[in-house]
Subunit: 111 residues, 2 copies
């Protein structure tokens, strides 16, 4: 069993097509996770993740702040603490911080 | 893309060997999730989950309250908001609410 606080995991810069985004790899393959990995993203003021798609799905839980997610139709949806987002594989998406606080969310992907 | 607040998902009683535990199936196979499912547990005052083990792993993130997790050696570890727990498959475990508030956590399992 592994127990750690997510804030004790180093926050690394996400650089490619992203702005003011950091990622913490809180449960990964290196920890022995066989099927899926847990990461925590933080988007600072005006931060955003790339607008992109990929084969794998995302399962997301918003921890703090206010933001938006763009969907495959180009529509922007407001999301906030306690919201859950499921993005199927190959679907276009982008997260943005639209508030005045840090926007943090858990994002899981298959390994 | 599916967006919902976890509190809008019905909380169902967990009955077998559990006390004062409810579960919300926030992202499941029924939503099209291909690899893993996201659930949110709530343990009311003095609530606990079964002390058990099973083949599949858990990836856990504590959302609110204070609790404990028993490990395979029978040791109790305090856990609170922001803590992450990885429980490999076949490892004995049990969660308890040891605080005075609702103890809530996300728990993911493979599908």
């Amino acid at each position: 069993m592994l127990i750690r606080n997510y804030r004790d995991v180093a926050a690394e810069d996400v650089e490619e097509d992203a702005e003011s985004v950091k990622i913490r790899q809180v449960i990964s393959k290196e920890d022995g996770a066989p099927h899926f990995a847990m990461r925590v993203f933080e988007l600072r003021l005006n931060g955003y993740t790339p607008r992109h798609s990929h084969e794998w799905e995302h399962e997301v839980f918003i921890l703090s702040g206010e933001g938006s997610v763009f969907d495959a139709c180009g529509q922007e949806h407001k999301i906030r603490k306690g919201d859950v987002v499921f993005i199927p594989g190959n679907e276009m998406h982008q997260f943005k911080n639209t508030g005045k606080q840090l926007f943090e969310f858990i994002c899981l992907i298959p390994i």
